[in-house]
């Protein structure tokens, strides 16, 4: 089994840094955080990250200068964070070698998704997720079980993607609702309806993988909880 990808987070806001580290850890990455870039070279050598999440506005050293440092010393991917959403700033980051550019404030799930996408492109994250005999190709969005391709709607695919990313963990309806429909949605019925539909399609080809944990939520895994 491939070792987990390593992600370094350089961000001076403690709240953002802590939240991003937690979310990336949750996504099964090995993480490390820095409040600024003063010791970046040493950290790159010691930690050898596969990807660096880099804030543009940092104390001590400028984010773009640090981008050059990472590019010069490693093959790591870089995702930049910034409060500036001007087109010029975005292009500047991408021109200088960043792999992606996320504007604050951002939704954590979106940042995790972009980090995962970059790591997949670099070959440092698996391009498929397997739960039992269910295989989900992350990029193409094709779900196959026992050789049969599942016919899923866009929403069902998003739901399955979330559950697969959280495979083995119990997630509440609220978690599913906000992850799949966003924070402005407020009808938990949506979750029940779509989980039932998805479950039906998955179980058409084998035993239950999507389990209900009464009072807590749902979990996607091969063995029953």
């Amino acid at each position: 089994m491939r070792s987990a990808a390593r992600v370094l987070v350089v961000e001076d806001s403690e709240a953002i840094r802590a939240a991003v580290l937690t979310a990336l850890r949750d996504a099964r990455f090995t993480v490390h955080g820095l409040p600024d870039g003063s010791n970046l070279e040493r950290e790159l050598e010691a930690f050898r990250p596969d990807l660096v999440v880099l804030d543009v506005m940092l104390p001590c050293r400028d984010g773009f200068a640090l981008l050059d440092v990472v590019r010069g010393r490693t093959d790591a991917g870089v995702v930049m964070l910034t409060a500036r959403d001007g087109v010029a700033d975005r292009l500047r980051g991408l021109d200088r070698g960043a792999d992606d550019y996320v504007v604050k404030p951002f939704v954590l799930a979106e940042l995790v998704a972009r980090v995962t996408a970059v790591l997949r492109r670099l070959g440092r994250a698996p391009s498929t997720i397997e739960v039992g005999d269910l295989v989900l190709a992350a990029e193409s969005g094709v779900a196959v079980r026992a050789g049969q391709r599942l016919d899923l709607t866009a929403t069902e695919l998003r739901l399955l993607g979330y559950l697969a990313a959280q495979r083995g963990r119990v997630v509440s309806k609220t978690q599913i609702l906000t992850a799949v429909w966003g924070y402005d949605a407020y009808d938990p019925n949506l979750v029940e309806v779509h989980v039932s539909a998805l479950r039906r399609k998955i179980e058409a080809h084998g035993p239950r993988l999507l389990h209900t944990v009464r009072g807590l939520g749902y979990v996607l895994r091969a063995d029953p909880p």
Partner: protein
């Protein structure tokens, strides 16, 4: 800079006049002198010739030498008769050298005539030039004295008359001075603009016109600048008030964030996972509300600074359809309709989508369940119109302009079940975007069968069919 050479006109005129007079007087004197000399000589010559003829006549009649001499000699003519025997008669001095016979010739001032008489005697007639010469000398002296006198008097008189002649120049100067001192609006107004003075006066008047024109312009510019300053100051005041209001608006969602977070911390293990989850969700929603307000403030700041638009050919109808799709997801209890024809406008699609989202959001929130929202896209002449109407309570006529002010809300209700509300900035931003495109956003009278609010977004469409054709080409490719 070279200065204008302004020698004294009076002196120039006087000096040149005196010079001219001197030359004239000189010429006159010379002329007179020459004329007098010529005349005198002619007379002397004639007289001598006459005497000579008389002498010859007498000699032919046989007059003796003594008689001849007596008859011929006069005050001015003297004779010297030399007989062949060598006897000399008469009082004239022998001429030196001996003149040739027959001609008249000059000897000093005198005129001499030599004849051989029939008797063989030699007759020399001498006309005395002395008197003539004296007369000439006297004349010359007179001419010089009179001439100098005349020039002197003329020079003296000229000084006065030139001053008189140039008086109009002085009066022009005095007039110009009085205009400069303050009698603006007055002009020299020459009655004969083709004289030298007239031309100068006219040039002066034109200069005054130009100067006063410039002065007026400067005064106008100053007034404009003062007006602009007061406008800027008023706008600055408005901006400061707005910033203060916005800051107050931000306090509420931030307070909400803090409150929810504190509640989670304080609840600790007491709160079950469901309760904790609810509080966390509230926390996230309040934070997002604050974030939206910040985005709106940024939009307004950009609009104030002159919104940067990325224009491309945009099909208003297509945008409307997409916006309605999104709204339908958020408001399943409402019926939302789209109608109209595709209309291409040069616009920033992201910004126009923002306007549509705002209008549909307002309609959605103010229309009760079961109601309807209508979107219509039309074009009349050079204007594309997008109208959003609903079956809600509508907007009272008195408020139809006020709602576009910043941070104004008609009802003070805030938190809605879906947690979405613009803090009263949406319409201000939407209008700002419309105007940045050269169009406008208005709240107009409701038109049946739609009883509720009616908002019309108007955007200019290029009249040039070529430009429109280009737009269509872009869109197709």
């Amino acid at each position: 800079m070279n200065r204008l050479r302004t020698a004294s006109l009076r002196r120039r005129v006087t000096v040149s006049s005196v010079l001219v007079l001197t030359v004239v007087v000189l010429l006159l004197a010379v002329f007179t002198d020459v004329l007098f000399a010529a005349q005198s000589n002619r007379e002397m010559r004639a007289s001598l010739l006459e005497r000579t003829r008389l002498a010859e006549q007498l000699a032919r009649r046989g007059a003796g030498p003594r008689e001849l001499v007596m008859r011929i000699e006069s005050a001015t003519v003297k004779v010297r008769l030399t007989t062949p025997a060598g006897e000399v008669f008469g009082h004239a001095e022998p001429p030196d050298p001996q003149p040739p016979v027959g001609q008249l010739y000059r000897s000093g001032d005198d005129l001499v005539s030599v004849r051989r008489l029939p008797s063989g005697a030699e007759l020399v007639l001498v006309a005395d030039g002395g008197p003539v010469t004296n007369a000439q000398r006297r004349l010359r002296r007179l001419l010089v004295i009179v001439g100098l006198f005349a020039i002197g008097i003329a020079a003296f008189v000229l000084t006065g008359t030139v001053r008189l002649a140039l008086a109009p120049l002085d009066s022009m100067t005095a007039l110009a001075k009085s205009i400069t001192r303050g009698d603006r609006g007055r002009r020299l107004a020459p009655d004969r603009p083709n004289t030298e003075l007239g031309r100068a006066a006219r040039a002066f008047d034109e200069m005054l016109d130009a100067l006063e024109g410039t002065e007026r312009q400067a005064r106008q510019a100053e007034a404009l600048a003062r007006h602009a300053e007061s406008v800027a100051r008023a706008s600055e005041g408005r901006t400061r008030r707005f910033v203060a209001d916005a800051a107050h608006e931000l306090r509420t969602p931030i307070a909400g964030v803090q409150a929810a977070a504190e509640a989670v911390l304080q609840a600790g293990t007491q709160a079950g996972p469901g309760e904790r989850e609810r509080l966390h969700l509230l926390l996230i929603r309040e934070a997002r509300r604050a974030g939206r307000l910040v985005e709106d403030l940024l939009s307004l700041a950009r609009i104030d600074a002159g919104l940067e638009l990325h224009r491309e050919p945009v099909d208003l109808l297509a945008l409307a359809v997409a916006a309605v799709e999104r709204t339908r997801l958020l408001a399943p209890a409402l019926t939302i309709e789209v109608a109209g024809d595709p209309v291409l406008v040069p616009a920033d699609p992201e910004r126009i989508a923002q306007v549509l989202a705002n209008l549909l959001d307002n309609a959605r929130r103010h229309t009760p369940d079961g109601g309807r929202v209508g979107v219509r896209v039309t074009r009349s002449g050079g204007v594309a119109e997008l109208t959003v109407t609903d079956t809600g309570p509508g907007v009272p006529p008195a408020d139809r302009e006020r709602i576009f002010d910043r941070l104004v809300r008609l009802d003070r209700s805030r938190a809605r079940a879906d947690g979405s509300d613009g803090a009263g900035l949406g319409l201000a931003i939407a209008r700002g975007i419309a105007r940045a495109h050269g169009g406008d956003l208005r709240c107009t009278d409701p038109a049946p069968p739609w009883p509720g609010a009616r908002f019309t977004l108007a955007l200019p469409v290029p009249p040039d069919p070529l430009a429109l054709g280009e737009l269509q080409f872009h869109l197709r490719n």
